[in-house]
């Protein structure tokens, strides 16, 4: 099982590379990868230092959806579809912000592409700036904590609903904390014709301010607090959720990460934490997560 690495330059304990390895493993390496500019690309595609064992292309920050669509069309035209699946790896910034146009076009035309959003909840390659998928209260370099503001104001963009609204056949969230579930979802997506969206919660040790030993733990806590619901939609219907046995208060997730630590000191921190708890409660209710 080796379609990615070793020898890449990711920070020790990086969640992106864990997600990537498992996606490629699920596809048994039979795929074409289009990757947006970002951490994964930078750590893996330096000239003469490629970590990839599958055909791979990086073009720009905001066009991986369209590049993948082009590969899909070429394989169709050249009658080479049997060679493998077309997969995108794109960051949350590439997906939810700058590349949302090309992503929407790819969804809308329903290309036979598995789009993986590697969600590390900020522009990490450029040093932890906020993206549309940065959660409320997160301390990033463009939403720094100051006297007035306790980190990012506004909530995480609901990319899952945006994907579902395109009417594509498969949409799911996954987490590096549940690697078997992640691979199952990718395998399932590979069997479905048309556009697929899988958003994988992938901790960033550097941007989140955690240790490699907490990579999996923090991803797991995001799920256990219902801040990151693990869900699955088929043809627009919610078909499966990962139930939570004993839902934990959001503080347990927040307190282990440097990006949220100010919330326990800042005058507005309490308010933000209660808003985050409300978001978690809403998630739990919406997806019926509690057992």
């Amino acid at each position: 099982m080796n379609y990615f690495g070793p020898g890449h330059g990711a920070c020790p304990g990086c969640g992106l590379t864990i997600a990537t390895r498992n996606v490629l493993e699920a596809l048994e390496g039979k795929c074409f990868v289009a990757n947006s500019t970002g951490c994964l690309e930078i750590v893996s595609s330096q000239y003469e230092r490629s970590a990839w064992g599958v055909p791979y292309i990086h073009s720009l920050f905001e066009n991986a959806g369209a590049v993948a669509a082009g590969i899909d069309l070429a394989l169709k035209a050249l009658k080479r579809k049997g060679e493998g699946k077309v997969v995108v790896f794109a960051g949350d910034g590439a997906t939810a912000d700058i590349g949302i146009g090309t992503l929407s076009g790819m969804f809308d035309r329903n290309h036979d592409v598995i789009y993986i959003c590697l969600d590390n909840e900020a522009y990490q390659n450029t040093g932890n700036q906020q993206s549309g998928l940065t959660p409320l209260g997160s301390n990033t370099t463009t939403t720094p904590v100051g006297e007035l503001f306790p980190g990012k104001m506004g909530r995480k963009k609901d990319m899952v609903s945006i994907a579902v609204a395109h009417g594509i056949p498969y949409v799911a969230t996954a987490s590096v904390a549940f690697h078997a579930d992640l691979r199952r979802k990718v395998k399932k997506a590979a069997e479905i014709e048309g556009a697929k969206y899988i958003q994988i919660h992938s901790p960033c040790v550097t941007g989140w301010g955690i240790d490699g030993k907490q990579t999996i733990l923090s991803a797991k806590l995001a799920y256990e607090t219902a801040l990151y619901p693990i869900v699955e939609y088929e043809n627009g219907e919610l078909t499966r959720v990962r139930k939570i046995k004993e839902r934990k208060p959001v503080e347990e997730y927040l307190k282990i990460q440097r990006r949220f630590r100010h919330l326990f000191k800042h005058p507005k921190g309490k308010e933000i934490i209660s808003m985050l708890q409300k978001i978690a409660d809403e998630n739990a209710a919406k997806f019926n997560l509690d057992v």
Binding site: G29, K30, C31, F32, A34, E41, I42, S45, Q46, Y47, E48, S50, W52, G53, V54, P55, Y56, I57, H58, S59, L60, E62, N63, A66, V67, A68, A69, G70, I71, D72, L73, A74, L75, K76, A77, L78, K79, R80, E83, G84, G101, T102, S104, G105, D108, R109
Partner: protein, 391 residues
């Protein structure tokens, strides 16, 4: 087979005969009818093993072609103006990745103010992007240059995007009798695309690597070298085309009556016809004037241009764009090609944003220059006197 068709169709028909695998398009005036024609052919099953898509933007269309081309497909798109500059990030990237995407740019002005009419401001923005660029004078020339573009772009010694510039409206909308190519003729000239390398699971290569400082410069030199090699490849293709079709459009430049000319007028694109007309009339009157038509803009045929201008006393460039803060972009190229020669130099930007260029204006500019009635340097053609106020 000669048929009266619009400029749009002269492109679409030719593209069809080149058997592209992927066409990605987005509408913009005055290009839209090219891709509409292709869409109609696609709908009628006339494009063979080709996938045609309308993208969500020109940026998306060009990006689709990057993926398709890297996967080994022959690719085509058409655009102009705002669409071209929206594509620019992708096209410059495609050049660096050495992807032989072919596009037709139906030259149109840039906003603001918004203008859908013709000048060359759009393609000039991509001057330094690493794309080959040619300008055509007529729809027949446009029709003929499509197979040439594919052949040269896909030549393993070149592997660069190729942009055919044709003037929006002036050419695109014109109905003209076109000697439409036959499939056999195109097949003789243009072999199927045989990519030297492409994305495949059989040999899982990494495309679009990033290059740290110890490598980047070499890749840019390689791109420049490819452009240099493209000169010969393109010239050969021009010749071969003339042999096969009997239609000789000339080489990188076409020089007419420059040998004994005191004044050489320079033009690119559809305006050339009128300039030629005026020049030949002046010659008939015994004036020593000549014409230089520039066909290839990138790689720039500096040697040929210099050769054609070596004896000229006065050089006059008809510009269709402005390099704001300096002068006319074609003139800048011509001047650098003539470095060390000492002709008088004049350049006039005419027909900006579709402003009509009447024959009299060409006559006036040429005779003003001929009789020394204007200063050397950059000028605008006819504009109304105005004073700029805030509101």
């Amino acid at each position: 087979m000669e048929k009266v068709v619009r400029g749009f169709y002269s492109i679409a028909h030719s593209v069809k005969l080149c058997k592209p695998n992927v066409i990605a398009a987005y509408p913009i005036t005055p290009q839209t009818e090219i891709v509409e024609n292709l869409a109609e052919m696609y709908a009628n099953g006339e494009l063979g093993d080709c996938e045609y898509v309308t993208a969500e933007s020109e940026f998306g269309a060009a990006s689709i072609l990057v993926g398709a081309s890297a996967a080994g497909a022959r690719t085509f798109t058409a655009t102009c103006s705002q669409g071209l500059i929206l594509m620019s990030e992708v096209l410059i990237n495609a050049a660096g990745m050495r992807l032989p995407i072919v596009l037709v740019n139906t030259n149109r002005a840039l906003s603001a103010p918004l203008s859908i009419w013709n000048d060359h401001q759009d393609s000039m923005v991509l001057r330094d992007g690493g794309l080959m660029q040619i300008h055509v004078e007529t729809n027949q020339e446009a029709h003929d240059m499509v197979p040439v573009a594919f052949k040269v772009a896909e030549d393993h010694k070149v592997m660069l995007p190729f942009m055919i510039n044709m003037d929006g409206y002036k050419l695109t909308h014109a109905y003209e009798p076109i000697d439409l190519l036959e499939q056999e003729m195109v097949d003789t000239f243009l072999p199927p695309y045989n990519p030297p390398v492409y994305m495949t699971t059989k040999d899982p290569l990494t495309f679009g690597s990033y290059a740290p400082p110890q490598y980047y410069a070499e890749f840019r030199v390689a791109l420049q070298n490819a452009m240099e090699r493209a000169r010969k490849v393109l010239e050969k293709a021009y010749k071969e085309w003339a042999e096969i079709t009997g239609r000789d459009w000339g080489g990188h430049i076409v020089a007419e009556g420059v040998e004994d000319a005191d004044l050489v007028a320079i033009s690119m694109g559809s305006l050339t016809g009128m300039v030629r007309d005026v020049i030949s009339e002046l010659r008939n009157q015994g004036k020593k004037v000549g014409l230089l038509k520039i066909r290839t803009f990138r790689p720039f045929p500096a040697k040929e241009v210099r050769g054609a201008l070596k004896d000229a006393e006065k050089i006059l460039v008809f510009e269709r764009a402005v390099s704001f803060g300096h002068g006319g972009p074609v003139g800048m190229e011509v001047k650098s090609a003539c470095f060390g020669l000492t002709p008088e130099f004049y350049s006039f930007a005419v027909g900006l944003g579709g402003r009509d260029v009447p024959r009299e204006e060409i006559v006036r500019i040429i005779s003003d220059v001929y009789y020394g009635k204007v200063d050397q340097g950059f000028h605008f053609g006819t504009v109304k006197p105005f004073e700029e106020v805030i509101v």
